[in-house]
């Protein structure tokens, strides 16, 4: 039975409420168990400094800081949890009110979590306390920025990504890096407020928000999974920008990627190794970019005419369809082209290598036609692209 005479401790109650959102207690076990085992083994058997394991325990502390920072950003964010977001959209909640599940910005008990990590880190000789703060903030900011971007709140997200680049640049100076982490957090906080003000965010199709009656009638049905032909004809990617916006955003994203690479380049020792790394990174982007474009552009959008038909009709090229595939050779030619141009100009690899990955990414993202343009105006043949084994759909007739 509840004891009403028990004295109320508002601060403790508030702390309990906040601690609930900072880190679930179960998250400490996968960290603490290996940490205690490793530290204990080193201290009791070998003595501190006689074995390389302290580096590993330092890594564990850093890893835990990153996990807790990302967890803090993601788990209570309505953009991450679809059911929470849909429920929230049906309530009278506004950005002026606290989020029902808990705040997504940092609160003072988050500082307790970081202090605990710093105290644990002090047990290992190589861990700099400010480094733990930086890692926590970097992970939190990176996860929050990605969710802010997903709510189409671009300016603060891009600016935060830019500030975080400075953290990478001054990583070797822990106090400077920590201070830059705080600056980044302030920008991220601005992004959180801006994105919450624009709630409810797009539902994934071109429809606006549902009226209460239709929302109730539709229940939990997936409103954009309507089979053939409705899904193919009318459910268009809501986040597909028009061509000009697509190019602008792609350009900014690629500039930021280049900025980050140049920040990381400050820590690179060998220019040749760095160039090889960037070239490999460029090819990796080209590979995954090709897979993504193939999946997005080809599935459900078949060629308008077969190869035999092209030959017979003497139309080997169908520009309205084939243009979508020009991007593949461009992506794979870009890394070597940058290297050749850089070498011809006699520039250091440290200057031109950071250009390679952003350039390949830019080609992957911005080469026309954009996804929306392709789906609406491409000269393709739309097909159901639903397997008979797919349990989500039934065929009529």
């Amino acid at each position: 039975m509840r004891d009403d005479r028990r004295p109320r401790l508002p601060l403790l109650d508030a702390a309990r409420g906040h601690l609930r959102v900072t880190a679930h207690w179960a998250m400490w076990f996968p960290f603490l168990i290996p940490f205690v085992m490793l530290e204990g083994y080193v201290r009791w058997k070998l003595g501190v400094g006689r074995f390389a394991l302290p580096i590993l325990t330092g890594f564990l502390v850093g890893w835990q800081a990153a996990v807790l920072g990302a967890y803090r950003a993601i788990v209570f964010h309505p953009r991450y949890d679809t059911a929470y977001r849909d429920w929230l959209a049906q309530t009278p909640w506004t950005a002026a009110k606290p989020l029902p599940r808990g705040p997504i910005h940092l609160v003072w008990p988050d500082g307790l979590v970081v202090v605990v990590l710093i105290l644990i880190g002090l047990l290992t000789p190589d861990v700099e306390p400010m480094r733990i703060v930086s890692i926590y903030l970097l992970a939190y900011c990176a996860a929050t920025v990605s969710l802010t971007l997903a709510t189409l709140t671009f300016v603060p997200a891009y600016l935060a990504f830019f500030c975080m680049g400075f953290m990478a640049r001054f990583w070797s100076l822990p106090w400077v890096c920590g201070a830059l982490g705080l600056v980044s957090y302030l920008v991220v906080y601005w992004g959180i407020r801006s994105s919450l003000k624009s709630f409810p965010w797009s539902q994934g199709t071109e429809n606006g928000p549902l009226s209460e009656a239709v929302a109730l009638a539709l229940g939990g049905a997936k409103k954009d999974k309507l089979g053939w032909p409705y899904e193919r004809l009318l459910v268009q990617p809501a986040r597909a920008f028009d061509e000009r916006k697509l190019v602008t955003h792609s350009f900014i994203v690629c500039l930021l990627l280049g900025w980050w690479i140049s920040c990381l380049a400050a820590h690179a020792a060998d220019p040749v190794d760095f160039l090889d790394g960037m070239r490999g990174f460029g090819y990796m982007i080209a590979f995954f970019g090709s897979l993504f474009r193939l999946a997005a552009y080809v599935s459900g959008y078949a060629p308008p005419i077969s190869l035999a038909g092209r030959i017979t009709a003497r139309r080997l090229l169908v520009p309205g369809y084939d243009a979508a595939f020009l991007v593949f050779p461009l992506m794979f030619l870009a890394p070597e082209t940058v290297v050749k141009v850089g070498e011809a100009l006699g520039v250091s690899p440290m200057v031109y290598a950071p250009i390679i990955p952003p350039l390949v990414l830019f080609i992957a993202l911005a080469t026309p036609p954009g996804l929306r343009q392709w789906r609406l105006t491409g000269r393709h043949r739309m097909v159901a692209a639903i397997s008979a084994q797919d349990k989500n759909y039934v065929k009529v007739g």
Partner: protein, 263 residues
């Protein structure tokens, strides 16, 4: 004079080596109920697919309500919202109930929510799906699936309906009757432009305001039943007219076949 709702100019469509449509020219006006008839594999569904924008013809142009198909993203989206295309074998979401599906399709076509809720109930009731409409489509019979698919085309309240064999797929007599009356009403009173294909002339004879007969990818005849009767000098049913127009070989072969049987 208003521009035609659907206009095809010199449309040629290949899938492979053989052209399925050969330089087809066609104009369809608002409020017409057009039925495309013809033997299997002669291009009926392809012609409808070209109008619906799911196919891209190798030659020629398609205009819908004065706008070119696949001209620009905005125009294409406007066209897609103004016409409903129902293929002969659509795929429906298995886990949605019939009612949910209709509501979701109506939302795609920006139907007003109040009208949408009321119309969904009316359609489900009209096609005897009021009770079944509350359970997942997965459990429907073939005919019930077809009814829900047809209802989805009707709930969109779009000015153009492009329907590939709407009367096939196991519809019961009550469903066939309801559908025929609905199409007739919508074309006459609501001035909807309805284009459909059908392999069975008897089903569409009484409702079609215009009949297009297609053979080997080209338009063989185009007009009202009276026009086709004059063309073939046959005062019989649409079936009889079709026999004269596109099945003379079948009649000759049948005569030869029966001659071989002893009396």
């Amino acid at each position: 004079m208003d521009p035609p709702m659907i206009e095809l100019r010199g449309v040629t469509q290949h899938y492979g080596v053989r052209p399925v449509l050969r330089s087809v020219n066609l104009e369809i006006q608002r409020g017409e109920l057009v039925v495309i008839l013809g033997p299997n594999g002669m291009g009926k569904s392809t012609l409808l697919g070209v109008m619906a924008g799911v196919l891209s013809p190798q030659h020629g142009t398609v205009h819908v309500d004065g706008m070119p198909r696949k001209g620009s993203t905005d125009e294409e989206m406007a066209i897609r919202k103004s016409c409903v295309f129902l293929p002969d074998q659509p795929w429906l979401p298995a886990e949605m109930t019939g009612r949910e599906f209709l509501l979701a399709v109506g939302r795609l076509y920006d139907v007003d929510d109040e009208r949408l809720m009321a119309h969904a109930d009316q359609l489900l009731d009209l096609f005897d799906l009021a009770e079944q409409g509350e359970s997942p489509i997965r459990g429907y019979s073939a005919g019930q699936k077809k009814k829900v698919a047809v209802c989805s085309a009707l709930i969109a309240d779009a000015p153009i309906l492009l329907l590939d064999e709407p009367f096939s797929g196991g519809l019961d007599p009550a469903g066939l009757l309801a559908l025929k009356k609905l199409f007739q009403h919508h074309a006459r009173r609501k001035e909807l432009t309805i284009v459909m294909t059908s392999p069975v002339p008897e089903l569409v004879e009484e409702i079609a305001t215009r009949i297009i007969i297609i053979q080997n990818g080209a338009i063989l005849a185009d007009g009202s039943l009276d026009d086709l009767q004059r063309l073939t000098a046959c005062r019989g049913t649409l079936g009889a007219v079709l026999e004269r127009l596109i099945y003379p070989e079948t009649n000759r072969k049948l005569a030869e076949y029966f001659q071989d049987f002893p009396r």
